[in-house]
Symmetry: C2
Subunit: 444 residues, 2 copies
């Protein structure tokens, strides 16, 4: 029977006279002459092993080797966690070569991001890096659980598509037998189709692809998209209400289950209360507010004094709007709605001649969601296409979706890595992807 590292203090209290067995990785070795202290790391945490003269020799051990040891658990105030294992038997299950390409037990601030990503098998062993993916797993779990509680059905749709819903740009091409298909940029069409298929409320957790050439701390060419779509809505307001509740639940779960992970990054727990009452600001007001805060931020900087210098909800505006929301509404989450038609795709539902029922969610300075109500009326859809330079004959599947009974509907998507990164305050979204892909990186 294996005991987990985290349970050794308890075992030392209740069964000190029985040998226990622990297995894991050699995290640290401190040779004190006659005695060697080894920190063993397993999936649950760490425990100190004590090799004395009565133990098998520890001289053979290398950092990151996988071992299984037996020994007597003992309370020791000076040991991390208050207990240790006094080793009586040692088995080396896998000897690590000493040329480790990165230092697992060190400070990750000293590892560059390229080293971290080049060596995922080793870098994820670092408890602080591991904690990123503990948070991510809880985000995905809470996302699905909340939506199921609201009567949503989980769907899985194809990532191989005949073309992009939003035109043919920024698509990766796949050689599919004797033809060309593309990797889906989003499950947009499919989730709308499943709402119209009578499921009404659907969600999907799946990869999405953007063949964008630029390499920024905000972008991934492959990311995990947390997608939601629902029928029988009147406007984007119901979607914002849904996302407030959804994020509040995710934040609650992360606060509850990832306290140690948040502590490892020294960040406050995201506030469920603030998310549940996050403000909504119209696009025009948002641009004005961003400019006001920009002026306030750098009153003496050139260009800031003489009027507006932010003309869109760009990354700079996102940061200022989040500052504004936190200061004025106590919320690090803010929704911007009423985006102009020129910034939204053809399927965005117009609220008037110039505006759409669409929105973004900004969280801690970064856009994490785009969403909105979609056009469900076939005639209006056909009429709109020329404005976007699109042709009906290229959108036959979309047309079929609207021709045979499609309820008013809308949805949104949350970028899973972006949300993870903003919760933990990571500088680069790639840190929140186990195996990120960018223009240069396709390994490991």
């Amino acid at each position: 029977m294996r005991t987990l590292a985290k349970d050794i203090p308890q075992t030392a209290r209740t069964k000190p006279e029985e040998e226990a067995r622990v297995s894991g990785w050699v995290h640290r070795i401190r040779d004190m002459g006659g005695i060697t202290f080894v920190v063993l790391r397993d999936r649950s945490g760490m425990v100190q092993l004590v090799f004395s003269e009565a133990s098998p020799p520890a001289a053979d051990l290398t950092l990151e080797s996988v071992v299984s040891v037996r020994g007597f658990p003992a309370l020791n105030e000076r040991a991390p966690g208050g207990a240790e294992l006094r080793v009586t038997a040692l088995e080396i299950l896998s000897r690590a070569q000493p040329d480790l390409p990165c230092q697992v037990n060190g400070d990750i601030a000293r590892m560059g991001i390229e080293t971290i990503l080049d060596n995922r098998i080793l870098s994820v062993r670092n408890p602080r890096i591991r904690s990123i993916f503990n948070v991510q797993a809880v985000i995905i779990e809470a996302f699905a659980a909340y939506l199921r509680s609201q009567d949503f059905t989980e769907i899985k749709t194809s990532k191989l598509v005949w073309g992009g819903t939003e035109g043919g740009t920024e698509l990766f091409e796949v050689a599919y037998f004797d033809r060309r298909v593309y990797l889906a940029q989003s499950p947009q069409f499919y989730k709308e189709a499943m709402v119209a298929s009578g499921m009404e409320r659907v969600f999907e957790v799946a990869p999405a692809y953007r063949a964008e050439k630029h390499d920024t701390p905000r972008h991934l060419n492959e990311y995990v998209s947390l997608d939601v779509e629902m029928g029988f809505i009147d406007s984007e307001r119901e979607l914002i209400e849904l996302e407030r509740g959804l994020l509040a639940h995710i934040f609650e779960e992360v606060s509850r289950k990832n306290a140690a992970d948040l502590a490892a990054w020294n960040v406050p727990a995201p506030s469920a209360e603030a998310a549940a009452k996050a403000p909504v600001i119209g696009y025009e007001d948002a641009v004005r507010t961003a400019n006001e805060w920009a002026a306030r931020d750098r009153p003496a900087s050139p260009g800031a004094s003489g009027g507006a210098r932010i003309f869109d909800i760009n990354p700079e505006a996102e940061r200022f709007l989040c500052e504004w929301s936190l200061a004025e509404h106590g919320s690090d989450l803010v929704f911007v709605n009423e985006f102009p038609r020129r910034y939204r795709p053809f399927y965005a539902y117009p609220s008037d001649a110039n505006r759409t029922m669409s929105f973004d969610a900004l969280f801690r300075g970064l856009e994490i969601t785009t969403g909105g109500r979609r056009q469900h009326n076939y005639e209006a859809f056909v009429e709109t296409l020329p404005r976007f330079g699109l042709r009906l004959e290229n959108l036959q599947n979309y047309a079929a979706l609207l021709r045979y009974g499609c309820p008013p509907h809308g949805g949104f998507a949350i970028g899973c890595e972006r949300l993870t990164a903003r919760i933990l305050g990571l500088a680069n979204v790639k840190e929140a992807s186990l195996f990120p892909r960018d223009r240069r990186r396709v390994e490991p």
Copy 2:
């Protein structure tokens, strides 16, 4: 406030004097002269609407249009479900064109599979087809929930890979900026990497790709793979034990939550008790048993009498082994282990010179899982490569996985569509994929 169709009987009992509003699709129209009965379908079920002379005219309605109606709920023994809504107001939210390409309210046995797949937006509206995806959603939910309860961490890994773990065959090529990458056949390497990264126990739900040219009722070119990997195991027996518990939990949840869906397909609930004690049979015994059952099945057929005619666990053997398991062990699930090395990839862990610690799971006549313990020893891995015609320089990422401390480990994958199809007795696995991809089909 919208009332769901399933709640109308209750509303008719408790608030018959209040108008209720229901929304959904026009499933059936029966014009009786002065009175028209319309069956409305929403995500929860169906309800009968009654249009009398006091109601707005129903003449405009077309099948599959989306409507919102108000009316008084009333108990009526002759109505399906025992209640109906007597309509006072009608709003047509989306008028369906009358040229429906398939009949939603008919018998799906009359729809060919190509019609079903060509018209997913309509065919999924058929309650029987919809039920397939209700079952699938529960499978995915139960899979994740059980593994979390066993301390597994959910991971999301890249589907764009530099090459296939198992060599370069049957891969789809992706044009990735100025280079070529491939769609992952499985997350095999990544899940092993995350076990070795200290997560120890991981699972992933994600698409997987096989560029197999043959088009059979068993194969999909894109499928949802339910992947599991765990560290610190001694043999495949622990994996089989895990999968027994996992499938038992999935079957329990499907039995509990999908009773109506199982009834729609007239199939028995899969037995959790049988799964929990499913038999394990070695490869050689399995081949012998399959031949015995083949001979018993068709004693007079040519070739069957004169000795063995099954030489491998092929689809025919899978069917006979499941018959044997059901007859002799009362289980529609059976595990075959000890597969010969020649049938398994290089990373399969050898139990002796000829056999490996690997296994398949067969369920109701079909292989739904391949798995096994993997090689974790670097020297043994290097030694094995030439046997498989592989070169170390092409497997550097795999080598790094084993060089720096890798615990004994193994795992398995369940084909989500195959499991769904076998639970419901679907003839073709494509029926269990919302948007299946095969050599000819990439739309919708």
